[in-house]
């Protein structure tokens, strides 16, 4: 029942168009890189100052000076350029990145996103997430539909501290796909995962949404 993480990544990957510049967050979003249609040309950006990310290196080619924002060793491509962190976030904040695909702890029906801290737990910091949601043109969230104890993560309002207000454009969970036309619109259910009924979905979803399948 429901989609695997790779399937979720593939759904998100199909949102990317030829010529897009895209920033992928840590976690499930990383899997999107493998799912991009080879027929389209997508340039991946990493907020630590790399534009044009290549795949992981062969063991012999590991270079400690080539890492992504997840601090993983990667490789460069013939299109790659490096910039400073200030210039990298100039791309992000300035609206030059077409899409960012991020993980989340909670998404609210008004588009609010929480993905950086849990009160009472050690706070690691926002990293670049707040900048991404504030600046990138389209934000696609990939997350499990419910948390570890079965509680809904798509909520009426986020209970966790926000990363950004009204920033989510599309939500892909293991059970459903929700889209909104623009940031004044409500979320619409556009697809259910195989084996998931609308009643089952509603039972594990706190957020209101329109069913426009």
């Amino acid at each position: 029942m429901g989609w695997t993480r790779d399937q979720m990544a593939a759904i998100a990957a199909r949102e990317l168009a030829d010529g897009f510049y895209v920033n992928l967050g840590i976690g499930i979003p990383t899997l999107v890189a493998n799912q991009i249609d080879p027929a389209i040309d997508v340039t991946l950006q990493s907020e630590n100052g790399m534009l044009g990310l290549g795949p992981f290196p062969a063991e012999a080619d590991v270079d400690p000076d080539i890492i992504n924002a997840g601090k993983q060793t990667i490789t460069e491509l013939d299109r790659t350029s490096y910039v400073s962190s200030a210039d990298s976030f100039g791309m992000i904040r300035g609206g030059h990145i077409d899409a960012s695909i991020l993980g989340a702890m909670e998404v609210a029906e008004n588009g609010d996103l929480a993905n950086w801290m849990v009160p009472g737990k050690m706070v690691k910091g926002p990293g670049g997430a707040m900048d991404l949601v504030a600046g990138v043109r389209r934000i696609i969230v990939l997350m499990d539909h419910v948390d570890k104890v079965g509680q809904p993560k798509f909520r009426k309002a986020c209970s966790l501290p926000l990363t950004g207000t009204n920033v989510v454009d599309m939500l892909v969970t293991d059970r459903a796909i929700f889209r909104r036309e623009n940031r004044q619109s409500p979320f619409c259910l556009t697809r259910l995962a195989p084996g998931v009924s609308i009643d089952e979905l509603r039972a594990v979803t706190e957020a209101d949404f329109n069913d426009t399948r």
Binding site: N48, F56, D65, K71, T73, S84, R93, M122, A134, T165
Partner: protein, 235 residues
């Protein structure tokens, strides 16, 4: 030519360190960090430091060395997730942390270096980051006021330098180094290798020598890797 090249880190830092000072450091994670200068700051025993750096190193490497030695009172960072000693000190109330969104931190360091006292960004609007900060409307949208950062000392790591202290960084080791180099009242750089005058193409200088007051050859270029991922392990 004024000789800005010092024999070692101790000499280059001589007279610059004092308790309670603010130090800005380049680097992202363990990539592009000034390893040699950090080690010398640890050895100096200077205390009560405020560190402005995107990350806090790991327990036994990078700025984590200064944390472990109890030399740090306050961090201004975007992400400190890889450091257990940090967590222990923070939970024990021994360490303060000011979180900045990563792009805001980069921009604050650039602003401090460029004489920009403050700037307005959408980043962090409506979040905990906005608490206590002014908001202003531009084009019907709220923006947060963030301020420039000027540090007492900035330390950076470069790949190549000429005797005029023109610097080139290498690949993603550039990261926060160019902004750090501008935001120190005084900036000390360490470099993997020196090249002769006129060797660096004037169009390809990343940090012009005006920003670097003292320079050393890096004694330590361990370049420890935080997450070694290879092609066997998927893209």
């Amino acid at each position: 030519m004024v000789d800005k090249v010092y024999d070692d880190a101790v000499a280059a830092l001589d007279g610059l360190l004092f308790d309670g000072m603010t130090i800005a450091a380049g680097g992202f994670g363990l990539c592009g960090i000034p390893e040699t200068l950090i080690a010398a700051i640890e050895q100096s025993g200077v205390r009560d430091l405020t560190l402005v750096s995107n990350n806090a190193g790991v327990d036994d490497f990078g700025l984590g060395k200064l944390l472990r030695a109890g030399q740090v009172t306050r961090m201004v960072s975007s992400y400190v997730g890889e450091n257990k000693e940090f967590e222990r000190q923070y939970l024990a109330g021994e360490l303060q942390i000011e979180f900045c969104p990563q792009g805001t931190l980069a921009e604050r360091m650039r602003a401090g270096g460029a004489g920009i006292a403050g700037f307005y960004t959408r980043t962090g609007v409506g979040t905990l980051i906005a608490e206590g900060k002014e908001t202003k409307m531009f084009g019907g949208e709220p923006y947060l006021l963030e301020t420039g950062i000027v540090a007492d000392l900035a330390i950076v790591k470069a790949w190549r330098a000429d005797p005029y202290c023109n610097l080139i960084y290498r690949k993603s080791a550039r990261n926060f180094n160019p902004m750090a180099a501008t935001c120190g009242k005084i900036t000390v750089a360490e470099v993997e290798a020196m090249v002769g005058p006129g060797t660096i193409d004037p169009d390809q200088v990343h940090t012009p020598g005006i920003f670097v007051k003292r320079l050393i050859r890096a004694a330590s270029n361990e370049k420890r890797i935080e997450k070694r991922t290879v092609s066997a392990g998927a893209v």
